[in-house]
């Protein structure tokens, strides 16, 4: 059981990281972005592309310390993140911004995001094919901790990176002028405009942040498991559940929701087969929608 709790925290960290962008966009633009999961896949594959590219440089083609992957992957985070952020902003400009301008119903954006999701996944199938991919076929070192906990060294990296990213974004939203304006926008978009805040500019910031976090989540999930074209699409379910559990637009809620989802999914494997993990996410989501539809930290 202690082992399952540790695995739950690892999975929960990735879910928490991925769900922040989803709840931020939902809070600010009322769009429930179905393409969020496929943006995650795209981010993970972009990192694969750059890691392969960088591995031609000799000194990058060496194992990154005790981890299973090479320095080339560590460096690949940067271009993968930048391209994903740009992609997220461009998709918003082309697809969702015109809908906001025309005051389309949020269902229209929701359906458009399904289209974006399919386009992204299709592209990934075309470029990389349907096979599983690994960042490096390296052996995964195990740590043997007390209480019979076996932890992969990679998982320490995953937790370290995800919680640093979460902390950085949290501080940004709490302290930075732009961060405060993003919260103001999520709170009351009409008043933000009346106060002179350029809302479209702020929405672009939000997409950038969402792209940043979901790419990190995607790469970390790729390190933890493997790369598949549907990885993000399937991962969307726990992300959804975490966001609904946390409440629309609530960052703290998404973090708590992500951890709860990760723990619940892993602990359930003590009694249920691991294939039932998505069902656990579904059950939690349904229970929240029945008993507390605005989520634990929700406002509306």
């Amino acid at each position: 059981m202690p082992e399952l709790i540790v695995y739950g925290i690892v999975l929960g960290s990735i879910i928490a990281l991925g769900s922040i962008g989803l709840t931020l966009i939902w809070g600010i633009t009322d769009l429930f972005n179905i393409a969020h999961g496929d943006q995650m896949t795209a981010g993970a594959y972009l990192a694969l592309l750059f890691a392969t590219l960088f591995s031609r440089i000799n000194f990058l083609n060496t194992r990154a310390g005790p981890f299973s992957f090479n320095w080339s992957l560590v460096l690949a985070f940067i271009p993968a993140i930048l391209i994903s952020m740009a992609l997220a902003i461009v998709v918003d400009r082309w697809v969702y911004a015109p809908m906001r301008k025309g005051k389309a119903h949020s269902i229209a954006g929701f359906i458009a995001s399904i289209g974006v999701a399919w386009c992204l996944r299709g592209l990934i199938y075309i470029v990389w094919g349907a096979d599983f991919k690994f960042y490096t076929p390296g052996l995964r070192q195990m740590l043997f901790l007390p209480m019979g906990i076996k932890l992969r060294v990679d998982e320490i990296f995953i937790m370290l990176i995800s919680w640093s990213a979460v902390a950085a974004v949290y501080l940004f939203l709490l302290k930075a002028k732009m961060g405060k304006a993003l919260r103001a926008l999520a709170d009351n978009p009409d008043l933000a405009r009346i106060a002179g805040i350029n809302t479209e500019m702020m929405i672009a910031w939000a997409w950038g942040i969402a792209g940043l976090l979901i790419t990190i989540a995607g790469i970390l999930y790729g390190i933890e498991t493997q790369l598949r074209p549907e990885m993000g699409w399937i991962f969307l379910l726990p992300l959804f559940a975490a966001v609904i559990l946390g409440g629309q637009g609530s960052i703290t809620g998404a973090l708590a929701g992500g951890l709860i989802l990760g723990l619940a999914q892993q602990i359930s494997t003590a009694w249920l087969r691991p294939t039932y993990k998505p069902a656990i996410a579904f059950i939690i989501m349904i229970l929240v929608l029945i008993f507390r539809p605005k989520g634990i930290f929700g406002r509306r």
Binding site: K177, N188, L191, R193, I194, G196
Partner: protein, 233 residues
């Protein structure tokens, strides 16, 4: 010189016409009020002035410049600020953060202005770290006005600042409005409360989207028919 001028404005939502050919004028340094029952189109008129929606016909001038259809984020930069009647604060932000957001587009140092706003509304000072959503109705209204003052506006549009407040607080808010005006802020005050007449130089009465009367406040107050029909007497 007319500071704000609304000229034959017709506007509405979707295919529903709410305002029919409304004209009015506010001179610099005045408090001008607009009274009328619920659904008269008062808020719609304010939203037109501030560019939240655009007039279908007619023009709006601010400082002699045509601002019809100019979006709110631009109007806010021209020296006019707007306090809506509802949802006029950022509930999950603190009082201090609300004021900071009021100053978002300022590039100079806005700290002295925060101090001035706290001096105008001393009650807010003790609550500066509280979530704005936890404030009482009166405090919210003060915060909403304070937020708008952060840009040092030359003109303030207020939408029913006294609605839902206890009589004592209503007096207090009107006092503050007069105080602001004496500091040189031109005020366009939309109200249902006839008390607004007492502090304004000129008033307009709007009903069913049409201007029914205009004139100096004391004349309107004397007029029996207007008193009965629109001022609840």
């Amino acid at each position: 010189m007319s500071f704000l001028k609304v000229e034959n404005v017709t506007s509405g939502y979707g295919s529903m016409e709410v305002l029919h050919n409304v004209s009015l004028e506010v001179n610099q340094g005045e408090i001008v009020s607009l009274l009328g029952p619920n659904g008269a189109g008062k808020t719609t008129l304010l939203r037109n002035i501030f560019g939240v929606i655009s007039p279908w016909e007619g023009k709006i001038y601010f400082k002699e410049k045509d601002i019809s259809g100019t979006p709110p984020e631009k109007v806010a930069r021209m020296g006019m600020c707007y306090v809506p009647q509802e949802n006029n604060i950022f509930p999950s932000l603190t009082v201090q953060e609300n004021l900071e957001m009021g100053a978002f587009i300022r590039e100079d140092d806005w700290q002295p202005r925060v101090k001035e706003v706290y001096e105008l509304f001393p009650d807010l000072t003790d609550r500066r770290r509280s979530r704005a959503g936890d404030l009482s109705g009166g405090m919210r209204q003060m915060l909403a006005i304070g937020r708008a003052l952060m840009l040092n506006p030359e003109m303030l549009l207020l939408d029913e600042p006294s609605t839902g407040l206890a009589p004592l607080l209503v007096d207090h808010i009107f006092e503050k409005i007069k105080q602001l005006n004496s500091q040189g802020v031109t005020i366009f005050l939309v109200e249902q409360n006839a008390q607004a007449l007492q502090c304004s130089a000129k008033s307009y009465i709007l009903e069913g989207g049409e201007k029914k009367a205009e004139g100096r406040a004391e004349e309107l107050m004397k007029d029996e028919e207007i008193g009965k029909l629109y001022l609840g007497r």
